[in-house]
């Protein structure tokens, strides 16, 4: 992490594919321990931006640092310090819970004893220690998603990217999931999250709304609602995203 307490610093981030501008001059920063909601319509450029921030794709121009490292030259270092979880890919279905922990811990070079200790800790906090040796495919979706999140922060990354983490889960799990996110943030992990559930935006400390490759708004949910005279974040989103149509 850099000295100024910022985990993501993006200045005039641009990504072009031929003549198409996917990310148009994005400037934003995310500080340590923050829960940052990254919203936008399909095709607004969210995926492109996340790929750049994860070090998977090279930006066309702009000054971007993630966890204190440069996204042009230090992608390997960035990758060691971030976690990633998405609805589509989370855990290996035919491995058991503990095997998944061991596998993903191993990828990040954690010692076996450390993995086991942290895994036990996480499992008991989720109250699912008895599932330790259960194969993932036999677990309900809600538990799988919670486990996937636990695995993604097993190596205590500085920053974790959550790509639509709550798609299709039941509402109890969804609220518990957000409680977990808040606990992780309280322990100092920065959370960068995308979602299509606009009510979930209210769980974030700050929210950015992307429209056609640009960040149209960035503030706390509270201030956004006041500014756009909206009851909830859904209205804010609709007002912003429809402006351009």
């Amino acid at each position: 992490m850099s000295s100024n307490g910022l985990v993501i610093e993006a200045e005039n981030m641009v990504k072009r594919f031929g003549r198409f501008v996917a990310n148009d001059n994005l400037t934003f920063s995310v500080s340590k321990g923050e829960i940052f909601g990254f919203l936008g319509a399909n095709g607004a450029g969210k995926t492109t931006a996340i790929r750049i921030l994860c070090g998977l794709s090279r930006p066309t121009s702009g000054k971007i640092r993630v966890a204190g490292y440069d996204v042009y030259t230090e992608t390997e270092k960035i990758k060691r310090r971030i976690g990633y979880m998405s609805q589509r890919f989370s855990l290996y279905e035919d491995l058991t819970v503990i095997e998944n922990f061991r596998f993903f811990g191993g990828i990040y070079g954690l010692k076996r004893a450390v993995i086991m200790e942290r895994a036990q800790n996480m499992l008991s906090r989720l109250g699912i220690k008895h599932f330790e040796n259960t194969v993932i495919s036999e677990l309900p979706l809600g538990i799988r998603q919670k486990l996937a999140f636990s695995v993604s922060i097993l190596h205590t990354p500085e920053l974790v990217f959550l790509d639509e983490p709550t798609g299709g889960v039941d509402p109890i799990t969804r609220r518990q999931f957000w409680e977990m996110i808040h606990e992780a943030a309280a322990s100092g992990i920065t959370v960068f999250v995308t979602t299509h559930y606009m009510d979930e935006a209210e769980y974030c400390n700050r929210v950015s709304i992307m429209v056609d490759g640009k960040i149209e708004a960035l503030d706390t949910p509270e201030k956004l609602k006041t500014k756009y005279q909206a009851q909830n974040m859904n209205e804010v989103f609709l007002k912003l995203a429809r402006k351009t149509n």
């Binding site: 299709g168 509402p171 518990q176 299509h196 009510d199």
Partner: protein, 316 residues
């Protein structure tokens, strides 16, 4: 709604091996109604919709659509149905216009004759008429799929999670279209995991683990919420939850946005008591107010009442 019945299910069950998808489901849908099935993945929505779309045979129970039995009269019924499966179900390498022509063709429908039905929707995707369907954005794909399901002017429209994975704007627009279709007296059955979409339906069924937990208008469902709900805004949400869980008379304390939702038996506690308690524990409380329960609160309540604990293992 004492009108004619469009869909009638009686005690439907369906199991796959030892997994129960539907555990005896009964309901009626009136003609011209927008009826929502709200529930998370794996609740049984897709199995139910496939049975109604004549694609799946129920193990037990009966189901009829427009007076036609889904098992015996499937050939006649297939003329009346418009069905949109959960997966993207268009020909990826045909263009937008070709897809529409194709689906009109298989139903022997005349696009011009029924165009008024889809005009509002199709005009939005018309600028991309020559683009391949596979290259459309998620929202556009769903709009095209809806056009294709509508082009033969079905009597009953069965939409399996049409808005999943679609952004909030496209979802909003999609619903506006459905509400407009109501004027054509098309019965619309729609499944969704988004609780906030419930209020857009005439009636909803909350479904979980193959059982209907409640079935009513969205207003009545929230009115039937038996507890009192408080919304607490404080400097530290996580600590507030922890503290409130120890508070006498509390049924649940959950995070809800930047606030905490606390439920209790009606009249058991009041806002002042909460403020006093939290302040004594050293919390800075910004506001405590009584909150109106949403569909999500009701869903959670019903899940807990039916003993559905999310930490339960799937029936092996």
């Amino acid at each position: 709604m004492a009108t004619e019945v469009s869909i009638h299910c009686e005690n439907l069950t369906k199991t796959y091996g030892s997994v129960t998808a539907l555990a005896g489901i009964s309901f009626k849908v009136s003609k011209g109604e927008i009826f929502g099935f709200i529930g998370p993945d794996g609740a049984g929505k897709t199995s139910l919709f496939r049975i109604l779309a004549t694609l799946l045979l129920p193990d037990n129970g009966t189901a009829s659509v427009e007076g036609l039995d889904v098992v015996n009269d499937y050939k006649k019924l297939r003329h009346l149905l418009g069905y949109m499966p959960g997966r993207f179900s268009l020909y990826q390498d045909l263009s937008v216009a070709e897809n529409l022509q194709f689906f009109a063709g298989i139903f022997k429908a005349d696009i011009n004759e029924n165009y008024y039905l889809i005009r509002d929707i199709y005009e939005q995707i018309a600028p991309f008429a020559r683009r391949r369907a596979g290259k459309l954005s998620g929202g556009m794909k769903q709009k095209l799929a809806l056009c294709c399901a509508l082009i033969h002017k079905p009597v009953v429209l069965i939409l399996d999670e049409p808005t999943t994975g679609v952004d909030a704007i496209s979802r909003q627009e999609f619903w506006e279209m459905l509400i407009r279709l109501k004027q054509e007296h098309i019965t619309i059955l729609v499944a969704t995991p988004y609780m906030d979409e419930a209020v857009l339906c005439d009636r909803v069924a909350l479904i979980q683990h193959g059982e209907i937990m409640a079935i009513d208008t969205p207003e009545n469902i929230t009115l039937a919420y038996p507890y009192q709900l408080f919304r607490i805004k404080s400097s530290n949400t996580l600590n507030t939850i922890r503290l409130m869980k120890e508070f006498e008379g509390i049924l649940s304390a959950e995070m809800f946005g930047d606030t905490v939702h606390v439920s209790a038996e009606k009249g058991r506690i009041n806002a002042n008591a909460i403020i006093k308690y939290l302040s004594e524990k050293g919390m800075k409380v910004t506001a405590v107010s009584e909150a109106d329960p949403g569909i999500e609160d009701c869903f959670i309540h019903l899940m807990k009442r039916s003993g559905v604990v999310s930490n339960k293992i799937k029936t092996p």
